[in-house]
Amino acid sequence: MNAFEMITLSQGLNLSSLFDRQQDFIKRQTRFVSRKSAKVIISSIEAVAGSMGLKVHTRNFKTRLEGLSANKAGQFAAVIEVYEVAPSLFLVDVRKAAGDTLDYHKFYRSFCKKLEHIIWKPTESNAKHGLLRTKSCDS
């Protein structure tokens, strides 16, 4: 992954929030890190999304999830992209593509719970080796 590409993930560079009418304080962009292979990451994401009743479409490390909103009244969609940040280190960026932000946040929490096996949460020892430190997936 290219450093400039990484930078484009910033919420500060995403001006579409200026047009958002919702007054919520919830982050709409969320990401986590994984040390599994890209293939495993993608297949796990697809499996979990499928089990959550979402339609899955993947192309080139980019997955789109679609479904109905919680109250079945609207569309819900999320886009997931997997980036290789360093050898065996992948950044998974998840963002809402359509639907209610509150729904998205609920989805993300549940999504992360089911993906615990691929999300890397370093222990004290490997954090000391300066590899990676991250807050829990739903920060």
Binding site: N2, A3, F4, E5, T8, G12, S16, F19, L131, T134
Partner: protein, 213 residues
């Protein structure tokens, strides 16, 4: 001068007529009028003076007036063309014009370059790139080791710095973007084409205003 431009409404500094702005940006007159509705909302959220202050900008972007974010600061500074610490309506529309799907790609590439040229030196230095990567990681609550960050920055920099002089100039940036078009994906807001749909009430109101004059 004819009084077609005075509708008896007090205008704040920096206001420019929609017809003027439409002529000089990719927006139509109705789109500029719709943007004015948005501008009024944003510029009155904390200080009701018809100008967007930094805190109001952060509030709009993050729903948090006190959020500190390097990239939002850069955007604000670039939008604030006159450098008077606030974004006026004219500046708002002209700057957003660059993000319109119909805006020339050269404008988008140039805007992104100025965005990343943190110290406005005319080129993007390696330290600036590193600073931005750190800012992104901090924003995402992710921390990578010094080595990993250096690796990422070095690799990207060497790809972009074709002349190998330690900085990325406009020419190198253009070349780099043409090879990696996703680098300027934030520079287009498809939503801007449908902006009049988001503010339909204004369209009705402006017709009423015309007949009142």
């Amino acid at each position: 001068m004819g009084c077609f431009c005075s509708k008896g409404v007090k205008r704040t500094p920096g206001y420019e007529e929609p017809t003027v702005l439409a002529a000089e940006t990719p927006f139509t007159v109705s789109e500029v009028e719709a943007l004015y509705e948005l501008f009024k909302k944003l510029s009155s959220s904390i200080i009701d003076d018809g100008l967007i202050h930094k805190e109001e900008f952060n509030l709009a972007l993050f729903r948090n007036r006190n959020k500190r974010n390097l990239f939002a600061d850069r955007i604000f500074d670039l939008f604030d063309v006159k450098r008077n610490g606030v974004i006026e309506f004219g500046e708002f529309v002209r700057s957003l014009g660059v993000f319109h799907p119909n805006a020339p790609i050269e404008d988008k590439i140039a805007f992104a370059f100025r965005l990343y040229d943190l110290r406005n030196t005319g080129s993007i230095e390696q330290e600036e790139l590193k600073e931005m990567v750190l800012a992104l990681l901090h924003e995402s609550d992710l921390v990578l080791s010094e080595d990993v960050i250096e690796t990422i920055v070095d690799k990207t920099f060497s790809q972009a710095d074709a002349k190998g002089d330690g900085k990325i100039d406009q020419e190198e940036w253009k070349e780099f973007v043409s090879k990696n078009p996703s680098l300027i994906r934030n520079m287009t807001l498809p939503y801007l084409k449908d902006i009049t749909l988001a503010f339909p009430s204004f369209v009705l109101r402006s017709e009423v205003e015309d007949s009142e004059v």
